[in-house]
Amino acid sequence: MLPSISPTQVILLFLVMAWLGTCMVFDLRSRQVPALLTIPPLVLSALWRLFQGGWSVVILVVALILISDLSWPKWRIPLACLATVLPLSIPDPSENIYTLLVIFAAWALWEIGATGGADAKLIISLVLLFGNGFLFIPIVMAGGLQGLLGLIAQKKTIPYTVAIMLGTVAWLWMSAVR
C-alpha cells in the first residue's frame, strides 16, 4: 500500500534523508561526523520541538548537555536520571515518557562510551524533530542487524549512521502507511 503524504512532508523527508545521507558518507569515510552536521540540526529540532510545545524534553536535552561537563563523572548518570524523571512529574500532554527515556538512553550510551557523540546527537535530533520516542526501536533493530553482520564479517566497529538512516526510513514508512 502506498503511503499518502503531502508535498510539505515530501520536502521535509527529502531534507532529512539528504542530511542523514551526508552524515552517513562522513561516517563511512572517517568514522566522524562534523559538528556542522550535528549541532545546527540539534538546535533546529529543539526549536521545532519548543514551537510544538515540548518544552520539557528540550529542557532535558539542555540539562544533559550541561551535566556532561560536570567535574564529577560518578554523579553524571545519577543527575541525568533525576533530570529525566523530573519532567515526568509535570503534566505535559504534548510529550510522552518514551521520548524522554529515549533521549536519556541516547545520552547515557554516549556517556558510558557505548556510542559516539555524533550518533547520540543524531538520534536526539530525530526524536526532537518527530516527537516520537518509538523511532528508537527501528533504529536499534537496524543497528542490531548491522552489528550482527559486523560480527560475522569480524569487524570491531560499525558505522551506526547507516542504522540511524535505515531505521528512520523504516519508521517513517510504517508511520505513513498506518
Binding site: 566522524q32 561526523v33 556510542t115 559516539g116 546527537k121 543497528g143 559486523g150
Partner: protein, 48 residues
C-alpha cells in the same frame, strides 16, 4: 561542551547487538505484561 564537541560516530558491533536485544526484550515484555497488568487492573476495578 563535551557532548556537543564529540564528533565520533563509532559503535562497537557487540554493543549494537546487545542494545538491540535489550530493547527487543523490553518491548516484548511491555507488549505482553502491559496487557496482563491492564486486565488485572480492570478485574480489580470491576470487583470494587
Amino acid at each position: 561542551m563535551r557532548f556537543l564537541k564529540d564528533t565520533t560516530a563509532i559503535e562497537t558491533a557487540e554493543v549494537a547487538v546487545i542494545i538491540a536485544v535489550v530493547v527487543l526484550v523490553a518491548y516484548g515484555a511491555y507488549q505482553i505484561l502491559g496487557q496482563k497488568i491492564a486486565q488485572v487492573v480492570q478485574d480489580v476495578a470491576g470487583r470494587i
